[in-house]
């Protein structure tokens, strides 16, 4: 069974927002609803500055706090490690929004359901690859099976010593190269 994860290399991200737009399209989000948000960060002082754009989305944590607090078990994790929301069960209580340390969850206006990145999970499997990965113009994103050492993502994580965004705050499955 695969264990899906993603790699985001902010040293290649130029902040073009293509991933946000493509994600909105494939997930039927309105223009002002987005699963991917961007933190623009500057380090240093002029003229010794490093600026990066850090795309943030659901980390598909293995110990997902959102799943733990959901009173109706609407939030669940597939066998392949993708954290999903059962629309029928969600009561819109927003407990999960408060529990997510990454602020990755949003309330969908049309349905009131609290949703987030689903690795483009449709018809029983994740996107091949998820749309954000497919549309990234600089190749800053990778997606694949974290349990397959031969996979591109595993090799890249090893090569770059990519780390989750916030250490071991949660067992996040998105690894960042920064």
């Amino acid at each position: 069974m695969a264990r899906y994860g993603m790699l985001i290399n902010t040293k290649k991200c130029v902040g073009c927002y293509a991933c946000r737009v493509a994600c909105q399209m494939v997930n039927g989000l309105e223009s002002d609803e987005a699963f991917i948000k961007f933190d623009e960060m500057e380090q240093g002082a002029y003229p010794n500055v490093y600026a990066e754009v850090v795309p943030v989305q659901c980390m598909h944590c293995e110990d997902a706090p959102c799943e733990a607090v959901c009173p109706t078990h609407a939030t669940y994790t597939t066998d392949s490690g993708v954290v999903l929301v059962d629309e029928e069960r969600c009561i819109g209580c927003k407990y999960c929004m408060a529990a997510c340390p990454y602020g990755a969850r949003i309330q969908i206006k049309k349905t009131g359901v609290i949703e987030k990145c689903r690795f483009c999970w449709y018809e029983g499997e994740p996107g091949n690859p998820p749309r954000c990965v497919g549309t990234c113009i600089s190749g800053a994103r990778l997606f694949g099976d974290l349990d397959d050492p031969q996979s591109e993502i595993c090799q890249e994580i090893a090569r770059t010593n990519a780390q989750p965004l916030a250490g071991d705050l949660t067992t996040a499955k998105i690894y960042y190269v920064r």
């Binding site: 290649k12 130029v14 073009c16 946000r20 737009v21 493509a22 002029y46 497919g134 990234c136 113009i137």
Partner: protein
């Protein structure tokens, strides 16, 4: 009996819109009235096979025209994705590509020809009336002032660039212009003067060091450029960004060299000085492949790094270090050619800056070398049947502006000659295609004033842009995915041809593709004989001339043409001297220094004033895309319209991030929020150039942010006629309360 009759004929006097005889039986029995039921049916049908059309086209989100594949299901545009084989998209589409897909069904589109009424409002008019009125006006102008009083300005697209030129030439006018004067005219004219080619590219796969002067691949996006640079950076190439702003390409950079705006030329000449005086330049190249070096070398001795530092504010040591590193990396290094940023059209010295870029590359001996500056070729259509597609006689008169600006590329001219021409009566009729000149090309107030003097202004566009608003007639084009265009030839190390093909049916019946519009205009103006063919016929003929067909290109998406046989090595310079030109007779004839040398910028900010520079953002394209909802939403959420101010300047002025300021110049003032940042050289303000729409028709763009060109006085660069888009000094103050 009477009651029954009354029943059958409830409403005899009601006007009906729907045609056809809906039989009472059908109406009585109609089943799919519930949306839910219909949806269920649809889902079933979709599973078994909705009618699917996949078509190849070229994105119109920006001038890269990346290849895309659009899919329509049951006639509805369903998805767009990047075309894998296209050299610019390489399978991906940037945000604009996805946003631009919304144009097809947008509520902001023009759906029929419009005519300006006396009070400035627009009323619908039929095509027949519009064309005949325009035709009459055109013929009136020709009778009174000759065809030279007519002009057309267009931002080149596959069909548009052919048809606009053909139309204007057929009328007898030579006045065909592109948008270049507000884009890359100075840069391409300068490169051409030095090398004979309009442009060159950096061999990223093999380069060891590249210096960007202002250009940001991460902001002015073409997906393939970003990938190339990412690859070079990963391969350990040294990437130097010379820019007052640490732009979004900064992630790939090893060095950020903050520089005073308009002083890039001093930086480059300082490098040249080091290369020459320390004997680090390529002797063989200079001796065998260049002219004018002795004069150049003599002149360059005064451009010491210290001298350069005084002008561009880059430390002399930095200039020396970069020059020496370039020399060490040579010939696998280059100064990148840029596009618009910094010296496409920005300053009085832009043309010369472009020549200086070329000079440094010449000294490095990197022309045509692996990892260096490559001049490649472009394919074009071969000959087509001269009977079916008759050659239009070349107009005798010289294009307006060419005499005054002889260094401007002959392929583009300077469109500001039209602005001046309207003001002084030389031009009386102007056509615009795919161009928002009024908003973006120069001081909008001057454009409006000039166009109001013209007898006839016609704009062809998909939306009511600021330029359309200043016109007498606005003719609506259909969107890209609804039309077939002429083949687009793509040059480089490999040659390709691609095509815009229709994927969905015409959405608004009263919109037309530009080929039909120009043919109609030609007919109405009495020159229809030159347009007696369809765009399909010409496309087929052009493709046949290069060994392919519409069918083949449609199938494959893009077709590779005969290998141009690119090889590394010193190129043939197609200059009058057939060599690289450190000195150019033509520049002397234009009254300028023939030898590549220093030219200052025109406007120097005084004490208390700031330089103002512009630039792009990855989700927008000029002033074209701000009204697209998905892209507009990003600008709003991330406040991308903000003016950037250096942290130290902000501290001095008591301004914090998010404050509203009033920006003012000699031309106008306006208010906008501020982004305080460390990524900017003090003394400089940065304003992204997509904002400040004024067309009330484009509701999401109107009044959102500021339009940079509103602040810039009208100036034309000597010799080339570019718009000098950054020759302005501004003041800024915090708005209280």
């Amino acid at each position: 009996m009477q009651e029954k009759e009354a029943l059958m004929h409830c409403n005899p006097t009601r006007r009906t819109f729907l045609k056809g005889t809906a039989a009472t039986a059908a109406l009585a029995a109609v089943g799919t009235c519930s949306v839910a039921a219909w949806r269920a049916e649809q889902a079933e049908a979709a599973a078994t096979g909705a009618a699917k059309i996949q078509g190849a086209s070229l994105c119109n989100g920006c001038s890269s025209k990346c290849g895309l594949i659009a899919t329509a299901l049951d006639g509805r545009l369903w998805t767009v994705e990047g075309m894998k084989e296209h050299p610019y998209s390489k399978g991906t589409l940037c945000g604009r590509g996805h946003g631009a897909a919304q144009w097809a069904y947008s509520d902001g589109r023009l759906t029929q020809p419009m005519k300006r009424a006396a009070d400035g409002s627009f009323v619908p008019i039929s095509w027949d009336d519009a064309l005949s009125e325009i035709g009459a006006k055109v013929q009136e102008i020709i009778a009174e002032a000759g065809p030279e009083a007519l002009a057309i300005i267009q931002d080149p697209r596959p069909s548009g660039k052919y048809y606009s030129k053909r139309f204007m030439n057929a009328l007898g006018s030579p006045n065909v212009y592109t948008h270049a004067a507000a884009c890359n005219l100075s840069k391409e004219s300068g490169i051409q003067e030095a090398t004979g080619a309009q442009n060159f590219s950096v061999d990223f796969p093999n380069t060891k060091m590249v210096v960007f002067i202002g250009r940001s691949y991460g902001d002015g996006i073409r997906p393939s450029s970003v990938k190339s640079l990412a690859g070079a950076a990963e391969g350990g190439a040294r990437v130097v960004i010379v820019d007052p702003r640490l732009n979004n390409t900064g992630v790939f950079a090893t060095d950020w060299v903050p520089i005073r705006p308009g002083a890039d030329i001093a930086f480059l000449l300082g490098i040249a000085n080091v290369l020459v005086t320390r004997d680090l330049y390529d002797h063989a190249f200079v001796e065998q492949s260049a002219v004018g070096f002795p004069e150049f070398a003599a002149q360059v001795t005064e451009y010491t790094p210290e001298w350069a530092e005084g002008i561009c504010d880059v430390p002399a040591d930095t200039i020396v270090e970069i020059a020496e590193s370039l020399a060490a990396a040579a010939p696998a290094c280059a100064i990148e050619p840029s596009w618009r940023a910094a010296f496409g059209c920005a300053y009085q010295n832009s043309f010369e800056t472009a020549r200086a870029v070329c000079a440094v590359n010449a000294l490095l001996g990197c022309w045509g070398q692996k990892g260096g500056a490559l001049i490649t070729s472009s394919p074009k259509a071969g000959d087509v049947d001269p009977v079916k597609f008759p050659e239009v006689p070349k107009p005798a008169a010289k294009r307006l502006g060419d005499a005054e600006y002889p260094l401007a590329l002959s392929g583009t001219g300077t469109n500001l000659a039209v602005l001046n021409g309207c003001a002084d009566g030389a031009i009386q009729g102007v056509f615009f295609y795919n161009s928002n000149a009024v908003q973006g090309y120069a001081q909008p107030a001057k454009w409006r004033e000039a166009l109001s003097q013209a007898k006839l202004v016609v704009t062809i566009d998909v939306q009511m842009s600021e330029t359309a608003l200043a016109s007498d007639y606005v003719l609506p084009e259909c969107t890209v995915l609804e039309r077939l265009e002429l083949p687009e030839f793509i040059g480089g190390k490999k040659h390709y041809v691609a095509l815009r093909t229709p994927v969905i049916e015409r959405i608004h019946p009263e919109t037309r593709p530009c080929d039909e519009i120009f043919a109609g205009l030609a007919e109405a103006c009495g020159v229809g004989e030159y347009f007696d063919f369809t765009v399909e016929e010409l496309a087929e003929a052009q493709l046949a001339s290069v060994g392919t067909s519409i069918e083949e290109v449609r199938e494959a998406g893009i077709v590779e043409l005969a290998d141009p046989g690119f090889a590394f090595g010193t190129p043939t310079f197609k200059t009058p001297t057939e060599k690289f030109q450190f000195a150019s007779a033509k520049v002397a004839e234009a009254g300028l220094n023939p030898v590549i040398g220093y030219v200052p910028r025109l406007v120097e900010p005084a004490e208390g004033e700031f330089s103002l520079i512009g630039g792009k953002q990855g989700i927008h394209s000029h002033t074209m895309t701000l009204n697209l909802e998905a892209l507009n939403a990003i600008s709003r959420e991330y406040q991308l319209e903000r003016l950037w101010m250096a942290a130290s300047d902000a501290a001095d002025l008591g301004i914090v991030d998010g404050d509203t300021v009033e920006l003012s110049s000699s031309e106008c003032s306006g208010q906008v929020a501020v982004k305080v940042t460390e990524r900017l050289k003090p003394g400089v303000l940065f304003l992204p150039t997509h904002y400040g729409g004024t067309s009330p028709y484009l509701t999401r763009a109107q009044g959102f942010g500021l339009n940079m060109m509103d602040f810039v006085p009208l100036h034309l660069e000597p010799g080339v006629g570019s718009t000098m888009s950054q020759e302005v000094a501004v003041k800024v103050r915090k708005v209280e309360g």
